[in-house]
Symmetry: C2
Subunit: 575 residues, 2 copies
């Protein structure tokens, strides 16, 4: 039986609960929704004593199932003021699961901030201060922790941005090699972790007993089938070769690539920052550069990369599509080395690169710096690191930046910056942004995958498209597997129940899985409504009025259509 | 029949409508609630094209009834994101009413800001740019307009803060002598006016026909009775002699005087900033200094003053209790000359002194400047005027300041700074802050007047106290009379219907007046709910946890009690 660890961040006391009953059937995102709805006052100050930081392994988190090991972080978001779950790969999820914990719930808040490490191993829990880590960069923090505790540990940590309570701060982690810096980026969860006075969590799985599965043979069989289906899907090879940047050219063609604060959906410099160029440069530059590496051990897709400069020295790992779009085309910057450098700075300071790119775009709109001026953007990130007034504005995200600088063209929904898919020419994702409890979050239901079958520029049927994608995302985010596993489940959705039944000895059917997703979303929506979040939200006013080149589209899914997204019964078949 | 003027701030076109039917029975605050609910998308960007700036005369606005002439400004608040009405005295309300307008509704928004003047006289309307007024101070703006259009005009204008869209910006006006600067201060309406590209409105009543009343004799008789009742109330003389600063000593004794960002309810320097000291200094210093002057012609209370320095040179007119508290004790500043200077700067820059004082208090809490450092506070106001990043943070109010600087002790409710009455030791006003659609606004139902009859530190019966006060406020704010008229209506509430019937030939009873107030509040609450505002809100978390010296009270009216404020049927007798 797995466990739940509760840590009081004010007193330092902790206790372990058995993870059974209703919560025993939940993992990842669904577990977070459950804890938030049942334990957190929806109207609370998200950075105050009443919010909780929840770390939750997916239901398959301790299995060797491919891509499993991603895990979820959540709480009431200081950015959206509603429910937030952000998940991430790396080594930490597997380490925590290996220790037998389904979840860690950090409660209360210390009187003032000091950099503390929450260390968890098989013997117990320690919470101690490490003064040297005050305002340390993410890679320095990971380096210190790996040197002190060995390289088998899993790490979660925040950078200076999270320590200073900035709402664009994410929670960073690294992979088992210590090379990748990956983020549970969105929703300002880094600030939430900072508010608990926790600079880092270390999960040390040394000598932890092996997990026991109900039916290992069936689990392996299902995993093998999953891998087979994945490997025969052409998207898998594409992702392996080009990583997420593969979609940049497609987004540019579709006219949804954020360009100069969402003034255009295509960028004249797209060729210089696209996936093919990046892959070519990685091959050419050598040295640290590489592609096709995994973020979690056992992933067969392996879409990560290390991007290096002309001398072969690492700039950032991984460089990903959304970050390139928000820090590149969205800022009018068409130089991939400069974009990578901005991405690296975000990673080190502890910032969500999407939110930060959106905020800098708004600052450019306000005339604080010029579009295309990468040096000025870099300088702005140094301001964030130093915590100057200007830096704190940017570090609090696009909505605050827009409010402070009196900007009307602010690409946010529910307070959160819109990611790298302009909803005016990909209307299904606009429905997701508006109706997902997560706000503007592409991982909550990305309609890009339907763009070849449902006209992305037509408003017809988009609520149905989005609803289905949102339900899928809720399932995957609760299993602890990667969204890129979808093609296999689309072909054989009954595999999900097979995997769960093999792991736990349940008797779930595909219908149970579907109902599980519906319940998860319902809990999230209920929490949001009690928190005063309008459901559904709408896209920013300018996106309904200002035609987006090159297709001159506006977002025209009506508010009534948006409302209908969740009024109708969800489909039986969500994959 | 009165008229409503609609001005399109994008095209400059305007039209005049007859003010009849349902809207013909509304004035001031009630008219604003009606227009917002019926015409404005509740979820709109408050500084975008869909919000409206509403200027509304009270129902008695064109009469010689004492204190009448106050008028209301409103719209969706960029600070609270909900309904907002702020009213103010001065000469402009009477001038607008004299022109026969019940209301001016400014719609749409220009593409970009330029300083324009909306000039209204009996012949029509003009909207024109005056480049010289760009970023002009409030007194320079009033001076320019009085020089250009004569000294019989009424003026509404914004300072640089409103031009820059800062959400602590108010709308300023002056009296018929041009000496007083008075504010429709709260809710960021100055930013709303700025968003319409209107630096100033000028109401020129020259040659306007006299208003026609249904029964002038009855109106005069009712007014005479009103004056008699007012003059026999001891509060009237006290207000005349000491103005609003009269209550500072009382608030200090009650332990509700905001001190050092609401850390205490009493201030060791209270004696140096209280009403008695101010009155003594005014008498002693002479020169420009004076007290007992009116803000609207015909007021028999005349509670305004001109506060001058030791040389008799005016610093600020008027100096008022709430501003002294927020810019004085709340900042740990016990020097009335320095407080007056801060107040003057707020007035000139176009800032709500309450919101600004609350924001500076939060900045002091964050360590940006020290409590008690008046020079640093002054410097901060210069930053606001210049529009630096730091200045823009402060100029956007206490909530934004708290978010940017990661402060938990942020005295705001519904995004608006708490005024000069700490709710922990005056619990009735805490109920008002939480349950009024206006958020933390002392004019929405100030329980100070009940402090001698209902234990202010007990949570018992406070919802009933607040509800009654809120209904009264809604009536007075819709008539266009001053809150200080209350003692007369408490003694003889039927006077209200008498006044309205004499003015309009209606057949209202006291019950109709009461229902009018209930409807007004209901409309406001409905708008807020549609805008996603939690009703009721709650006080900030620290006010439920941190005991307030000297009585060590916390705010303990339960959320359920707060909810009950508006669930039960309002009383028949609201005065």
């Amino acid at each position: 039986m797995e466990k739940i660890l509760r840590v009081n961040s004010r007193t330092g006391s902790w206790k372990i609960e058995v993870c059974d009953g209703e919560i025993g059937r939940l993992g990842g995102r669904a577990l977070i929704a459950h804890v938030l709805l049942n334990e957190v006052v929806p109207t609370c100050d998200p950075l105050g004593r009443k919010n909780k930081l929840i770390v939750a392994c997916g239901l398959l988190g301790d299995t060797p199932v491919t891509t499993a090991g991603r895990f979820s972080l959540g709480g009431k978001s200081p950015l959206t003021m509603g429910v937030k779950e952000a998940n991430v790969g790396g080594a930490a999820g597997k380490a925590l699961a290996r220790l037998g914990f389904r979840a860690v719930i950090v409660e209360d808040a210390p009187r003032s901030y000091s950099p503390r490490v929450l260390y968890i191993n098989r013997s117990g829990v320690e919470l101690f201060e490490v003064r040297d880590l005050l305002r340390a960069s993410v890679s320095d923090t990971c380096g210190y922790l790996r040197a002190r505790f060995g390289d088998q540990i899993g790490i979660l940590c925040i950078g200076p941005a999270g320590e200073m309570g900035m709402c664009a701060a994410g929670i960073a982690t690294t992979d088992h090699t210590g090379v990748q810096i990956r983020y549970a980026a969105r929703g300002g969860l880094g600030a939430l972790m900072g508010s608990k006075g926790i600079k880092a969590m270390v999960f040390d799985p040394k000598d932890a007993p092996n997990p026991v599965f109900y039916d290992s043979v069936a689990l392996n069989r299902a995993n093998k089938e999953l891998v087979r289906l994945l490997m025969e899907d052409p998207k898998t090879e594409n992702r392996h070769n080009f990583g997420t940047p593969a979609v940049l050219s497609l987004c540019n063609e579709l006219g949804i690539l954020p360009t100069r604060n969402f003034r255009s959906g295509s960028f004249e410099g797209a060729l210089k920052i696209c996936g093919e160029t990046i892959a070519m440069l990685i091959d050419k530059r050598g040295g640290d550069a590489r592609k096709g590496t995994p973020c979690v051990k056992g992933c067969v897709i392996r879409c990560s990369n290390v991007f290096a400069d002309a001398a072969g020295k690492e700039i950032v790992a991984s460089i990903q599509y959304e970050n390139i779009a928000l820090l590149g085309s969205n800022l009018g910057i068409g130089d991939i080395d400069k974009v990578a450098e901005l991405n690296r700075l975000c990673n080190e300071i502890g910032l969500d690169a999407i939110e930060t790119g959106a905020a800098i775009g708004v600052a450019m709109e306000a005339g604080i710096l010029d579009f295309g001026d990468a040096e000025a953007a870099k300088e702005l990130l140094h301001e964030v690191r130093k915590g100057t007034p200007l830096g704190r504005i940017i570090g609090n995200g696009a909505a605050v930046t827009g409010r402070v600088f009196n900007v009307r063209r602010v690409p946010v929904i529910k307070g959160q910056g819109i990611p790298a898919y302009d909803p005016r020419s990909l209307k299904g994702i606009g429905v997701t942004y508006a109706t997902s409890p997560m706000g503007a979050d592409h991982t909550a239901g990305n309609a890009l995958e339907t763009a070849s079958t449902v006209d992305p520029r037509s408003s017809a049927n988009q609520p149905e498209v989005s609803r289905r994608l949102q339900l899928r995302a809720a399932i995957l985010d609760s299993l602890g597997v990667c969204l890129f596993i979808r093609p296999a489940f689309v072909k054989k959705p009954e595999l999900i129940a097979e995997l769960l039944n093999a792991r736990y000895g349940w008797n779930w059917t595909y219908k149970d899985v579907r109902n599980f997703a519906v319940e998860c979303l319902q809990k999230e929506k209920t929490f949001n409504e009690r928190a005063g979040i309008i459901e559904p939200a709408d896209v920013p006013e300018f996106m309904r009025e200002e035609p987006l080149p090159p297709y001159n589209t506006v977002f025209d899914v009506s508010p009534d259509e948006l409302k209908r997204t969740w009024v109708a019964d969800p489909p039986e078949d969500v994959f």
